[in-house]
């Protein structure tokens, strides 16, 4: 028997059995009923050697069109950004990647301090008082924010949520909220600007614990958070802001500055590859008042007996380990290594670099929008970050045609918004050169077969 990742030789196995006093390895499983063992064998393909495995996986990888091999102008919650090599250098350190959750702080200061740095970065970017050590992704972070608002204001069971939110986020909130007693989800439409209809929101905020907006929203549009906050607060609800493109926070006013009570989102843009949609990293910031109602792990600063500064997991009484069914969330394993990547990326760029990249995103997206506006028309007039919605008859067909020509022309919106069936959501970031945008625009023209 060739053992791949287990070091034992047959002689050692025998020696260990002798020490245990067991006649065989099978004997160790004597508590398992025979009838279960009879059908226990697994039939899966395996036994590949390392070179065979590499061949297999390389072949599978080649069947996928990696960014760069296939010009793409798609965002919609997962963004192509340039990641400095130093980020992977840091996250590939096996001291970080092969550690468990830092349950023994004295030998986990690396992870703990990096998490504390991540929390500080999230708090700074969102303009919030505090942040946790990460969530799974932007969608589940949004759902957890809604649950928290609900916990904080149980007497207000409704949740008012923008329909211009990323559809996956909205669907996730729906799933999380679906079994909570009395919780009712109300979606509000968007206007011709592409922003959430705040008037419509006002009408349904009466008994709501929170109003949830995307910032920027799914259409790339920069919502008027200040107005939304004023409205929500007037009605006694919290404002939850969720950001699917975290890079925007390097340039736009922070949700906190605009009055949001909770600011969550997806951090993939800040140093993580798209990786077919995961792992990214959810972030969760909020005002001080939510401190003991927050979901997820938090790292806090403290001292050792000699007065040295150190970091520990703290406020554990909120968590399932201790509180079990009364915990603020069920989350246990989070996305710590991804949070580390964010901390490294943001530190490499600094406030100036972040602003510079974010501004470049704005410029490129607007350049592309302008370039395409002869072929289609901008569906919304609101200010946008690095995504915009282009309307053009037969959008879905054009999109298919573009794929055949070797371009991803954004994502067709009809699948989620029947009323936007002729619309594509397009994105340009700093990785798109002007030349590539030109090429893309020409191909688009061709695929569309002429003017708008």
């Amino acid at each position: 028997m060739r053992r791949v990742y287990c070091p034992h030789t047959e002689a050692e196995v025998r020696e260990m059995l002798r020490a245990i006093g067991a006649p065989s390895v099978e004997h160790l499983f004597r508590e398992v009923p025979r009838e279960l063992v009879r059908t226990g064998a697994i039939r899966v393909e395996g036994g590949l050697s390392e070179p065979e495995l590499c061949r297999r996986l390389e072949a599978l990888a080649r069947e996928n069109a990696a960014f760069g091999d296939f010009p793409q102008f798609v965002g919609a919650g997962s963004y192509p950004h340039f990641i400095p090599a130093a980020v992977a250098e840091v996250t590939a350190r096996s001291e970080f990647s092969t550690a468990y959750t830092p349950y023994q702080p004295e030998v986990s200061q690396g992870t703990l301090q990096a998490s504390f740095e991540f929390q500080s970065i999230v708090a700074s970017l969102t303009g919030m008082d505090v942040a946790n050590a990460s969530m799974y992704d932007g969608a589940s972070a949004t759902a957890e924010a809604v649950l928290m608002a609900h916990r904080m204001a149980p007497q207000r069971p409704a949740v008012v949520i923008s329909s211009a939110l990323h559809p996956h986020y909205l669907q996730t909130v729906r799933t999380y909220a679906s079994d909570l007693p009395g919780m009712e989800l109300r979606t509000v439409p968007y206007t011709a600007s592409g922003a959430t209809d705040l008037e419509a929101a006002e009408a349904c905020l009466e008994d709501a614990c929170c109003l949830v907006l995307g910032y920027p929203n799914f259409f790339g549009v920069i919502e008027d958070l200040a107005a939304a906050a004023a409205l929500a607060h007037e009605k006694g609800a919290y404002l939850v802001s969720t950001t699917q493109e975290a890079l925007a926070l390097g340039l736009l006013k922070s949700p906190g500055e605009l009055g949001a009570d909770v600011a969550v989102g997806e951090g993939q843009s800040l140093g993580l590859p798209m990786s077919y949609g995961g792992p990214g990293v959810g972030f969760f910031g909020c005002a001080q008042k939510f401190l003991r109602s927050m979901p997820g792990r938090v790292v806090g600063e403290t001292r050792d007996e000699r007065g040295n500064r150190g970091y520990v997991l703290t406020l554990a009484t909120r968590e399932q380990h201790i509180r079990r069914e009364r915990a603020t969330s069920n989350i246990c394993t989070n996305h710590a290594l991804c949070a580390l990547a964010v901390a490294a990326y943001v530190s490499l760029l600094g406030p100036r670099g972040l602003r510079e990249v974010a501004a470049r995103n704005v410029r490129n997206a607007h350049y592309l929008a302008k370039r395409l506006s002869g072929i289609g028309r901008l569906r919304f007039f609101g200010p946008f970050f690095n995504e915009f919605v282009l309307e053009r008859a037969r959008a879905r067909e054009i999109w298919e045609g573009m794929v055949q020509m070797g371009f991803m022309a954004g994502v067709p919106l009809g699948q989620w918004f029947p009323e936007l069936d002729d619309c594509l959501l397009l994105c340009a970031t700093e990785v798109h050169s002007r030349e590539e945008m030109e090429k893309f625009a020409r191909a688009f023209e061709e695929a569309a077969g002429g003017g708008a």
Binding site: M16, I20, V44, G47, T98, S108, A336, L337
Partner: protein
């Protein structure tokens, strides 16, 4: 003699926060191409939308960033450096080739909305992984969407809820044994369930007899972990399952401990209707200091239609996503799950194959049995039934010395080992939960057993040494009460260097 104890010496230095390192005005590296769109034209967004700049971020150079995090990494214990017998966490070797393969551009630089014709490689990998996990768990269908174990539990309990709801059945209770991991009750609660705890009897397992009187029409499910967190195989699981099913309830099986049973016995055969897998435990993907992991959820045929959407289907010889499952519980997150983690688990399965996975479980149990044999000579073992992949000791024999489980754990750090899981499961007072995994050598197990014996000896001869441990780490025992009482959860400019 602090610092030269237990063989430990060393060169670790505390590291300032990244915010305390830089200087304002450091030049950031440029991550843009030279040519931009619309350069020269006025900036497209109005001033009032823009912030002044982000306060409180570090302004540091690339060399400083790399050095900072490299130094931080040194302050971490990791399974790449030494034995990490953290019970319930399955800290096995993480194959490095799998890391490399997950980074292949065709995987890592793949957009989730890529046209299905141009990501068949990724889709096939997921398709095969779904089927492999189903086979391993004895289930009929799998969703890879959940991001971690607890997330799998959430999806699974939602499925159970959807099942009952569809039958108009308003069952409100979930039975959970006292040995269960905290995520089990928390996930149930998140699905609107009330939790009814099954106390832990002398045998440490659920006895079919314990269900008497508990199996009302209110019971929606039993959540069970097998082997349970005492490392004990739930011997009566088949009888228990039968009773549960007979009363119309379902079985949720927490698969976190599957490393004990692969190729030996399948959850599906034990009666589990829903099970989740921890790819970051059993399937060797690294834990990352707390994720990302992946917690796929598997179900039996009759529950398949409730699985999260989107699901993979075959159409015209291609694998594509479909949302067309009206009874689905919906999504539990964006996109399709932690794909990068799935690639590694796929590699692991393809490397080992069915027989290799079975041998994995056999060797994991052998290692645990061997280590238990050695440790029970020095530590008290509250449940003496044969255990599988892990075993749980406690501090009963040490309490009279004033030495606790926490002290033993901290002192082991000085010997260069990570501590076992402590104070879990809750049913054992002062629990010390040891899971060696199959990737450790006898030599390592012996060294660890020797260290535990030495610490126990110290507890008798020099208890203060043990109670003040650790001595050889970059910081000493940290004040957790202080952290919780006056929470400092972020750095703030101006408060910098408060007390350095």
């Amino acid at each position: 003699m602090k610092g030269v104890v237990g063989g430990l010496r060393g060169g670790l230095l505390a590291e300032p926060l990244i915010f305390e390192i830089g200087g304002s005005g450091r030049y950031a590296p440029v991550v843009c191409e030279e040519e931009a769109g619309g350069d020269g034209e006025p900036f497209p967004l109005q001033e009032h939308l823009l912030r002044e700049g982000v306060e409180g971020l570090a302004e540091v150079s690339e060399p400083e960033v790399v050095r900072h995090f490299t130094r931080l990494s040194e302050l971490n214990f990791s399974v790449s450096k030494n034995f990490y017998p953290l019970g319930s966490c399955t800290m096995k070797y993480n194959p490095v080739v799998n890391e490399r393969l997950a980074r292949l551009r065709g995987f890592s630089e793949l957009h989730p909305f890529m046209h299905p014709s141009f990501c068949q490689g990724a889709l096939r990998l997921m398709w095969e992984l779904e089927r492999d996990l189903a086979e391993i768990g004895g289930m009929d269908a799998v969703s890879l969407q959940p991001a971690a174990g607890a997330h799998g539990e959430l999806a699974g309990m939602k499925i159970i809820r959807a099942y009952h709801r569809e039958r108009g059945d308003g069952r409100r209770k979930v039975l959970i044994p006292a040995t269960a991991h905290g995520t089990n009750p928390a996930s149930s609660a998140l699905c609107g369930y009330e939790v009814a705890e099954i106390p832990c009897g002398d045998a440490g397992i659920i006895e079919a007899s314990q269900l008497e009187g508990r199996l009302t029409e209110e019971v929606a499910a039993l959540m069970v972990t097998n082997p349970n967190t005492l490392g004990l195989f739930e011997r009566e699981i088949c009888q228990v399952a039968e009773k549960i099913h007979r009363c119309g309830a379902l079985i949720y099986m927490d698969g976190a401990n599957l490393n004990a049973l692969m190729g030996v016995a399948k959850p599906g055969d034990m009666g589990a209707d829903v099970v989740h897998f921890n790819l970051h435990k059993t399937f060797s993907t690294p834990h990352g200091g707390g994720g990302p992991g992946a917690g796929p959820v598997g179900v039996k045929k009759e529950l398949e239609r409730y699985l999260p959407v989107p699901r993979l289907i075959e159409r015209d010889g291609k694998i594509v996503w479909s949302e067309d499952f009206p009874e689905s519980i919906g999504r539990v997150r964006s996109f399709y799950g932690n794909f990068g983690v799935m690639v590694k688990a796929y590699c692991y399965i393809r490397t080992l194959g069915g027989e290799g996975l079975a041998e994995t479980s056999r060797m994991a149990v052998l290692n645990s049995a061997y280590l238990r044999k050695r440790l029970e000579q020095v530590l008290h073992l509250p449940y003496r039934a044969p255990s599988l992949h892990e075993s749980v000791f406690d501090d009963e024999d040490l309490r009279h010395l004033g030495v606790s489980t926490l002290d033993i754990a901290k002192r082991l750090l000085d010997y260069g080992f990570h501590a076992p899981t402590i104070y879990f499961p809750l049913v054992v007072r002062g629990a010390i939960m040891v899971e060696p995994t199959e990737t450790e050598s006898k030599r390592t197990l012996d060294a660890f057993a020797d260290a535990v014996a030495a610490v126990v000896e110290e507890a008798k001869t020099d208890p203060d040494l043990v109670k003040a441990a650790p001595h050889g780490t970059v910081v000493g025992r940290l004040d957790e009460t202080r952290a919780a009482r006056r929470p400092v959860l972020r750095w703030r400019a101006g408060e910098a260097d408060r007390d350095r």
